[in-house]
Symmetry: C2
Subunit: 359 residues, 2 copies
């Protein structure tokens, strides 16, 4: 890839959903054109497209794709089928809030305009999906603006997984903050945790940061404590998959450990996420469903090399929950939310989200 | 391998050093016969034989192997060459204290009997190397006995790397404690951290525990915090590579992070190690040299699959240092050492080690 050429993780192109196949990175930048729901469901399940905000867009485009392919002229049949499409997409992965948020937005449009013709509703659904994409671009840049206020020149930042371009449409949440810092002329050094088992840090974050010309060093997840002990980390910033109303945050497995290490070493720990990641229906992290993934992700590498004895039992949760008391601040497009989160999240994130679909 | 068949990690056999090639596990149990120092040096550097106590034995056998191959009848030339052999072996890996301890024991014998004939000294060196091996078997079983006192029936234990049969001669330190528990009829559940980058936990510890019939579950290193948060871990126990006189302990990278997680979750954190792992010449962990290994260990898997972009910078320390205040107790063959370590280590570990060779 050419340095600084514009990447878009997901878009509607040639009447299909075009995604960057993230399982092929960093070896090759390969695009995948998706024209049916089953392929989209699999692309989500297999992490060809991943990252909470990108999943919001995938869900929105997916609902449109599914509706577009419906042949009926009956509004009633159409609406019934639309909810079937929504249920199907909602079954792809359980944790990221944005996936359900994307579906809910689309179902909300169908609900609002249910008196219109099927063709008209399809047109409005397309418009809504495009709005989701357009808004994400703006939202991430706002997150970047707010977050950059928290980061001084010459900082060394540690992050896990990928909360960058590839997790959003084209900018990033946690990494968006770093891109904004760079645009402001701040010098940064970044440590990227490789993020086992699927190595989004090693494969995606280092690749993005290299392309953006940001100084990045790859570490194994278990090396973060040693860096902090040596005073080499000024702050940790990560994305989020679902944030409860009290600020408890589900994010990639390993995030909780980093937050605890930050507390021990008195290092700030920041979350960066759009308001679509908040789930105001959930009181605390205990209410967040954590996806358990298959053992083979841990026992073999990309189904190619086996690294553990046959039949060994495996625990493979895709996410963990960081309790609110370990989080220094949550950076959103609406501003920086600081503790006490219970009060401040309600203040900053609009407390009413109309739900035509409840995933 | 047959269940419960007797494994020996390293031994003198057919006039050669026979080791289990640990880089081939768990795929195959392959033995390697080594008849020259260069091959032994490489086997140590490439972790074909690894684990602090096993390295002590490798060093002792290595000094004998090197001396056996010397052609001179002159005691002066022989002694000079012996120190050259010692220096060479000492240059293989820097952190594990036991490697140097093994060399020192052998040089101590040569020094003590320097008036004898070369043939006689060689015979005494062979005897000493065999003693190192024999003593390790006894030592590990004593560690097991002491350690088992700390573990209740029905405990769930988390460990990192491999401190078992494959890290010693035939029993283990941290895993030896678990084996002793099993012999006593205690029921255990074990979580093994995979231990990036070289996956000793995934490849070796799960294999050993499976063979011993102990219930083992493999996790990625970044999943330990989540298990602890859910109250699933009763204690953590690991081996050690070098312990300073104040109790600060160098062990496999990732150990420090686990110790901090234990502190946060109020879970006991134990070290199990023979007295040969203590370095009474070092006041604190700051004096311990940490081996930095090559980037390719992180960026590719077994030199087969590349998992990061070309040219990415990597930080790859093989060990970290856990400060004494995070350690609940150190289990040795001489007893359980509890804080305050500064006083109690001197009491239990003999404070004077004669050093004919200083590595």
């Amino acid at each position: 890839m050419k340095k600084n050429s514009h990447l878009q993780t997901i878009e509607w192109k040639n009447n299909k959903i075009r995604i960057i196949d993230q399982t092929r990175l960093p070896k090759g930048l390969v695009y995948l054109d998706i024209d049916n729901l089953r392929d989209l469901w699999l692309a989500i399940r297999e992490l060809k497209v991943r990252g909470a905000p990108a999943l919001g867009a995938a869900a929105a485009l997916g609902v449109y794709l599914g509706s577009k392919n419906l042949k009926t002229k009956s509004r009633e049949v159409f609406n019934k089928e639309l909810f079937r499409i929504a249920d199907y997409l909602a079954s792809s992965r359980p944790t990221a809030r944005n996936l359900f948020w994307g579906i809910e937005r689309m179902c909300g449009v169908a609900e609002k305009f249910k008196g219109r013709s099927v063709e008209e509703i399809k047109r409005l659904l397309f418009k809504e999906a495009q709005a989701v994409i357009k808004e994400d671009k703006v939202t991430c840049r706002k997150i970047g603006l707010w977050g950059a206020r928290l980061i001084k020149d010459n900082s060394t930042v540690l992050t896990i997984c990928n909360a960058g371009i590839l997790a959003t449409i084209d900018y990033g949440t946690a990494l968006g903050v770093l891109y904004r810092c760079k645009e402001e002329g701040k010098r940064l050094k970044v440590y990227a945790c490789e993020t086992r088992p699927l190595l989004q840090g090693a494969r995606l974050t280092t690749w993005e940061l290299q392309n953006k010309g940001i100084d990045v060093t790859l570490i194994c997840d278990n090396m973060a404590a040693s860096l902090m002990q040596q005073g080499k980390i000024d702050l940790v910033i990560t994305g989020a998959d679902r944030i409860a109303v009290n600020g408890d945050t589900a994010n990639k497995i390993g995030t909780l450990g980093l937050a605890i290490l930050c507390r021990y070493h008195k290092i700030p720990f920041y979350i960066a996420a759009p308001s679509s990641t908040f789930d105001l229906s959930i009181k605390s992290g205990r209410g967040i469903l954590i996806e358990q993934r298959k053992p083979e992700e841990v026992t073999s590498l990309f189904s190619k090399i086996t690294i553990a004895p046959k039949g060994v039992r495996v625990f493979n949760p895709a996410f963990d929950v960081t309790p609110n008391n370990l989080i220094s601040a949550i950076i959103t497009e609406k501003g920086i939310i600081r503790p006490s989160f219970r009060a401040n999240i309600r203040k900053i994130i609009s407390s009413v989200q109309r739900r035509a679909y409840s995933g």
